[in-house]
Amino acid sequence: MKAEVILIDRPDVMQLHDMTAHRLELFSSAVQAGFPSPAADYDAEPIDLNAYITQNPTATFLARVEGDSMIGAHIEPGDLVVIDRSLQATSGRIVLAFVAGEFTIKRLMQKPDGAYLEPENPKYESIRITQADMGRIWGVVVGIVKKV
C-alpha cells in the first residue's frame, strides 16, 4: 500500500516554490508487509525548473516573442522569455524595454555617448535612448523557454 501525500507549498517570497505545486511522495513502509523501502529516508523533491530559471518568482513575468530582431541571442518567434523585474539592468544585459509606445526586447549597451538598445539581427538598427522619458526598462530577461 502506497500512501501519497500532495503538498502544495505556501507562496513565500524568498523561496522559489510558488509557481509549481510540488509533489512529495511518502512511502509508508510501516504498514507494508514486505521490506521497507531503502529510499524512505532519502525522499527529496523533484527538480523544479522554475527555480532553475528564476531567482525571484515574485518579480518574474513571462512574455511571448513574436519578432526576429534578437535571433542572434537565440530569442526566436514563439519562444517564452522570462523577465525578472527586480534585477538591475546593467550594460550588456538583454532587457524588455518600453520605447516609443511599444515593448521591445534588446540588448542594453551603455556607451560614452549614451544608452543604446541593440538588436541581434543585422536587419535591424540600434535604438539610441536620447531623453530620459523616451524609454524605460521594464525588466531584465533572465531566460528563454523553447519547445522543440
Partner: protein
C-alpha cells in the same frame, strides 16, 4: 491587548488601474477607469479620471459619452489579473515584516515594531520602491502607533505632495497636525451616518473627534466608535490579524450578462457557481451543513413581473462534495423556478460551515463519503493545474467564461466587453513582444 507598537498600512494606488498599466505602460498619464462585474459601474479610477470628475460607483452608461469624448481608457474588471498581482504585492511586502495582515485585495497592515523611529521613513521608501520595482504597482505607506492612525497617515501620504507617498507619524505634535488635517468622515471606521451626526455637532476634523468625551462616544457610537476614538489618541486597540478566520458562510453569485428566461441557462450558471463555491469550501477545509439557493428578477423594474425567492435545505450530514451540493442546488432551483419571468441573478450560499476534520463518520454513508473525498481532491488538483474550465459537469454547459468573443459566451456569463488579457495566469494571455 495589542502587541504591535508600530503599524504600517501599505495601500496600492488605484490598484486595478495600476494592474492594467503594468502591461500597458502607454496608459501612464492617460485617464483610465475599471468597471465592476458586468460592466455596471466605475470601481477604479486613475487620478486623471478623478480629475475629470468621474465619481466612484457611477453607472457606466451615465458617463459613457463623456468618457468617449475625453478618451478615457475603459476596462472590464479582470480579477484573475488583479488577484495574481495582489499576491505578488503581498509576497514582496512579507519580506519587510515578521507579521502582516492582508486587509483587502490592495491593502496590507505590516508590523514595523522592530525598527527604530529614525529608520522608519527610509524603510517606508524602501518598501515603496521595492514593490514598484518588483511588481510595477505604486503604493503609499502610512506609519503610526495604531491601525487607525496608520490608515490616516496613509491618506495624507497620498495627499501631501512633499510626503512622496510615505508618511510616518511619531510625535504627538505630528499626530495632532495630521488629525487637524483630516476630516471626520475620512476616519477609518466612521460610517456616513456617524459622520453626518458628528458634523451636526460641529465635530468636523479627526482632531475634534479625538477630543470627544469617551462616555459620549461609547453611548452614541458603541464600542467600535470608542475603539476608533482611543486609536486616534494613540492607544492601540486592534492588533494585526495575520490569518483570516475561516468563514461561517460562503456565497457565490453573479448577475447574468443579460436577463434569462430559460431554466436550462440558469442551471448552467448555478451549477458553475456551485462548483466554484464548493472549491472555496474545500480550500478552507470545511464542510457545509446547509445549502441556500436564491433566484431573482430585476427588483427595480416596475413594469416587470417581480419575483425573488430563496430556498434552504439542511443536509443530512455536513459535506464538501460538489456532487452532492450540485444535486441539492439543482433540486432547489427547479422548485423555485417559475416560467415567464426574466431573471437577472442566481446564487448559492453554503451555510453553517464546520471544519472537515470534525465531521462525524457516518457508518452507513461512509463508503460514498470516502469515494467522494478522493474524487474531490483529484478534481481540485486537476483544476488547479488546468483551470476550472478543464473539468465540468454537463449541466454547466460547454461555454468557457474566459472566451471574450460574444458568440462563444453563454447568455448568463458576465459582460466583459473591455477585458484585458490574463497576462500572468495563462500562457495564452501573455504579453506579446515584437522584439
Amino acid at each position: 491587548m495589542a502587541t504591535t507598537s508600530r503599524f504600517a498600512l501599505v495601500d496600492c494606488n488605484s490598484f486595478y488601474v495600476s494592474c492594467e498599466r503594468v502591461f500597458r505602460p502607454e496608459l501612464e498619464d492617460v485617464p483610465v477607469v475599471v468597471l465592476s462585474n458586468n460592466d455596471g459601474c466605475v470601481i477604479a479610477r486613475s487620478k486623471e479620471a478623478k480629475a475629470l470628475g468621474i465619481k466612484m460607483g457611477t453607472p457606466y452608461f451615465q458617463v459613457k459619452d463623456m468618457m468617449e469624448r475625453e478618451r478615457v481608457e475603459v476596462f472590464s474588471s479582470n480579477y484573475e489579473l488583479y488577484g495574481d498581482m495582489s499576491r505578488r504585492v503581498v509576497s514582496t511586502l512579507s519580506q519587510f515584516t515578521p507579521n502582516l495582515e492582508i486587509y483587502s485585495i490592495d491593502e496590507c497592515f505590516l508590523d514595523l515594531s522592530h525598527l527604530r523611529p529614525e529608520e522608519v521613513e527610509a524603510y517606508g521608501h524602501r518598501i515603496r520602491h521595492t514593490v514598484e520595482r518588483w511588481t510595477g504597482i505604486p503604493v503609499s505607506v502610512g506609519v503610526a502607533c495604531t491601525k487607525t492612525l496608520a490608515k490616516l497617515a496613509n491618506r495624507l501620504a497620498k495627499k501631501r505632495a512633499k510626503a512622496k507617498e510615505v508618511l510616518a507619524l511619531h510625535t504627538p505634535a505630528e499626530i495632532e497636525e495630521a488629525l487637524r488635517e483630516s476630516s471626520v468622515k475620512d476616519v477609518w471606521g466612521i460610517g456616513r451616518q456617524h459622520a453626518k451626526r458628528l458634523e451636526q455637532l460641529n465635530v468636523v476634523t479627526a482632531w475634534d473627534l479625538s477630543r470627544m468625551p469617551e462616555g459620549w462616544v461609547k453611548k452614541n457610537m458603541a464600542v467600535t466608535g470608542l475603539r476608533t476614538l482611543l486609536e486616534l489618541r494613540g492607544q492601540p486597540c486592534q492588533d494585526l490579524e495575520p490569518e483570516t478566520p475561516d468563514r461561517k458562510n460562503i456565497c457565490t453569485s453573479r448577475s447574468f450578462g443579460r436577463p434569462l428566461t430559460e431554466l436550462e441557462d440558469i442551471a448552467e450558471a448555478l451549477s458553475t457557481h456551485t462548483v466554484r463555491c464548493a472549491t472555496k469550501l474545500r480550500r478552507q477545509n470545511s464542510c457545509a451543513t446547509g445549502v441556500t439557493v436564491f433566484l431573482m428578477t430585476n427588483r427595480f423594474a416596475v413594469t416587470e413581473n417581480v419575483y425573488c425567492n430563496s430556498r434552504t435545505i439542511q443536509l443530512p450530514r455536513p459535506t464538501n462534495s460538489e456532487l452532492e451540493l450540485l444535486s441539492r442546488a439543482m433540486h432547489l432551483l427547479k422548485n423555485m423556478f417559475r416560467p415567464g419571468k426574466r431573471y437577472v441573478k442566481v446564487g448559492i450560499i453554503l451555510n453553517d460551515l464546520v471544519p472537515a476534520s470534525e465531521v462525524q463518520l457516518d457508518l452507513f454513508s461512509n463508503q460514498d463519503g470516502e469515494k467522494h473525498k478522493k474524487l474531490m481532491s483529484t478534481l481540485d488538483t486537476l483544476r488547479q493545474r488546468f483551470g476550472h474550465h478543464a473539468l465540468k459537469y454537463a449541466v454547466q454547459g460547454n461555454k468557457n467564461e474566459k472566451d471574450v468573443e460574444e458568440e462563444k459566451r453563454a447568455p448568463w456569463m458576465l459582460q466583459k466587453k473591455f477585458l484585458s488579457s490574463p497576462y500572468t495566469t495563462s500562457l495564452k494571455g501573455l504579453l506579446r513582444i515584437k522584439t
